[in-house]
């Protein structure tokens, strides 16, 4: 079965990089994967999303249409995609920006990821890795070690430390999350 993940928000939040890192983690585990994206012509602001499909069979259609997991970092993204989440799907929202839910999802995880990144890591720039690590721990779609290896292979050496810290924080938040 395909496991479909959509990471959505606005340009500059690092969602496409997060998608690449997640896809690479799946490759490390020798699974089949496709990663696609959609974004506007601007490099910051505007709309941005990354799709990752992980499967043990051949993946035909490369875009996520019926998500097992949706990460929404902005209100706009949440409003746009919430209705395409499966009934049993996992919704992860950043309450720094997402204030209203148009629909109550069964498995909703809400945390102010952007605020936490600013507070604990000193910069909002790691929000993508923080929320991705939270997603990985919550869904269990890839192993925690695979994600770490993927981050190490993908991120520039100068920024590796802060990203690994963000990853660890994401894992901790997921482990201690209380509904």
């Amino acid at each position: 079965m395909n496991y479909e993940i959509r990471l959505s928000g606005s340009g500059g939040q690092g969602l496409i990089l997060a998608g690449i890192i997640l896809a690479r983690a799946a490759v490390i585990e020798k699974r089949r994967v496709t990663q696609t994206q959609s974004y506007g012509p601007e490099s910051r602001g505007g709309f941005s999303r990354a799709d990752v499909i992980i499967s043990d069979e051949e993946i035909f259609f490369p875009e996520a249409t019926n998500f097992n997991c949706l990460l929404a970092l902005t209100q706009e993204a949440c409003d746009k995609y919430l209705f395409d989440l499966r009934e049993t799907g996992i919704l992860i929202i950043d309450t720094t920006f997402v204030k209203n839910l148009a629909l109550a999802a069964e498995n909703t995880f809400e945390l102010p990821f952007t605020d936490i990144a600013q507070e604990k890591l000193g910069s909002t720039i790691t929000t993508n890795i923080l929320s991705l690590a939270f997603l990985v721990k919550t869904t269990g779609i890839v192993k925690e070690e695979s994600l770490q290896q993927s981050i190490t292979e993908t991120v520039k050496a100068a920024f590796l430390d802060v990203n690994l810290k963000a990853m660890q924080l994401g894992y901790d938040l997921a482990a201690n999350y209380k509904k």
């Binding site: 690449i20 896809a23 690479r24 799946a26 490759v27 020798k30 699974r31 089949r32 994967v33 496709t34 990663q35 696609t36 994206q37 959609s38 974004y39 506007g40 012509p41 993946i59 035909f60 259609f61 490369p62 875009e63 249409t65």
Partner: protein, 410 residues
């Protein structure tokens, strides 16, 4: 410079002050290429070009094809090749034609707006029978359209974009792996048939990442142009043998020949004689149409018992395959025909495969291009048996769109 690079494309540049760093880079590169890695469609095109022996790239970067130029800008100089960023796409196509005449295997990559500008140069490459490859990663048009959105609007332009009758070879992959394979095939065919070969990609494919393991170089078949064996004073630039493929000398090798966009004789000089003009035009046509079996590649997916056939190319076929899996699950007999070579159009293969089919669905990201070719072949059937699905809003046709149509007609 070019002459040197044509001898061996694999010769690493050893002029570097620090050969240790250089070899380390090479080692990393080789590792990266041959392992199972996450790779983008555009990346696959760039590595395909390198493996096919391309040693000259001239281009003007444009979304969604930019990564092809980006990677070749880094990789070509390392391997003794040449990368030039030109002032525009007209200059780019002219540069790759010129480089090819000097012996290089040349390639450029662009998208719709650049592809429009290149049309005159593509016609020049075809009439002068100069091997080169143009990669067009399609985006939504017309004009600058939507740079980051997919469309399949250049299917007809790839065949008819340049003025005059000029038979085209156009390849169209649907996965990252196939982007690599068809890039090599495009270079091979351009060398073999001495013409400009076009590789069409979809925006989504160019930017999409998949796990890919590239084959070892030992398993890559590379074709290079036939060189003349006659002494220079016997050489004819357009000398036809039985298969209408003639040897090609490079400038600087001692062979003298004339290259012009005007209709020309066997030596390359302009002619106004109707007999010579007719001969030249016939050769351009025959070298494609007489070799159609070599040029055509078509994928037949679950067609054995199919009553409904989906005919589509490129990324849209991925939606079709997903829809077929769902429809088959419900017992509907549906299959897919997907041309990997869209021009020359695989008439015979399609006619034969559609013989036992009641309905043909043609999904495409345009307002109707491939469908006319299918219509031409099944015109004897009633109008109701050919169903279009067309979309030009920058979104892909989804498996559900196709499944809905399948259920309507089944």
């Amino acid at each position: 410079m070019l002459k040197k690079t044509t001898k061996s494309t694999k010769a690493p540049a050893k002029e570097s002050e620090n050969p240790k760093v250089e070899s380390k880079l090479d080692e990393l590169q080789n590792k990266r290429e041959r392992k199972n890695v996450l790779m983008q469609g555009n990346e696959a095109v760039a590595y395909g070009a390198l493996d096919a022996g391309v040693n000259f790239f001239a281009g003007y970067p444009i979304t969604p094809s930019t990564e092809v130029a980006e990677i070749l800008a880094t990789e070509l100089p390392k391997r003794g090749g040449v990368f030039i960023q030109m002032e525009d796409e007209i200059a780019s196509i002219c540069a790759i034609v010129g480089a090819s005449l000097a012996g290089a295997k040349s390639l450029t990559a662009t998208s719709g707006p650049g592809f429009s500008l290149m049309q005159e140069g593509i016609g020049f490459a075809k009439i002068t029978e100069t091997p080169c490859v143009v990669v067009n990663v399609q985006r939504l048009g017309p004009s600058t359209g939507m740079p980051t959105s997919p469309a399949q609007g250049d299917i007809m332009q790839a065949k008819w974009g340049s003025h005059g009758d000029s038979p085209a070879i156009v390849l169209y992959p649907d996965s990252v792996k196939e982007s690599y394979e068809l890039t090599i095939r495009a270079v091979n065919l351009s060398e073999k048939y001495r013409t400009c070969v076009i590789l069409l990609l979809d925006e989504v494919l160019g930017h999409m990442r998949e796990a890919v393991q590239l084959p070892d170089m030992a398993n890559v078949r590379v074709i290079s142009r036939i060189k003349p064996t006659v002494p220079p004073h016997w050489y004819k630039h357009y000398d036809e043998n039985q298969k209408y493929l003639s040897p090609l000398a490079s400038y600087g090798e001692g062979y003298r020949f004339h290259v012009t966009g005007l209709t020309h004789d066997a030596l390359g000089f302009p002619t106004n004689k109707s007999t010579e003009a007719g001969e030249m035009m016939e050769r351009l046509r025959k070298k494609i149409s007489y070799n159609i079996r070599d040029l055509v590649q078509i994928e037949s997916h679950m067609m054995e018992d199919a009553k409904i056939a989906i005919f589509t190319a490129g990324i849209t076929s991925r939606a079709a395959k997903a829809a077929i899996a769902m429809a088959r699950h419900e017992g509907i007999k549906v299959g897919l025909l997907r041309p990997l070579t869209i021009w020359p159009f695989p008439d015979d293969a399609v006619r034969k495969m559609l013989r036992n089919v009641e309905t043909v669905i043609v999904p495409e990201l345009n307002q109707g291009q491939l469908i006319h070719e299918v219509q031409r072949l099944i015109k004897e059937k009633s109008d109701g048996s050919l169903i279009p699905i067309q979309r030009v809003n920058g979104q892909l046709i989804t498996p559900n769109d196709i499944l809905r149509k399948i259920k309507e007609v089944s």
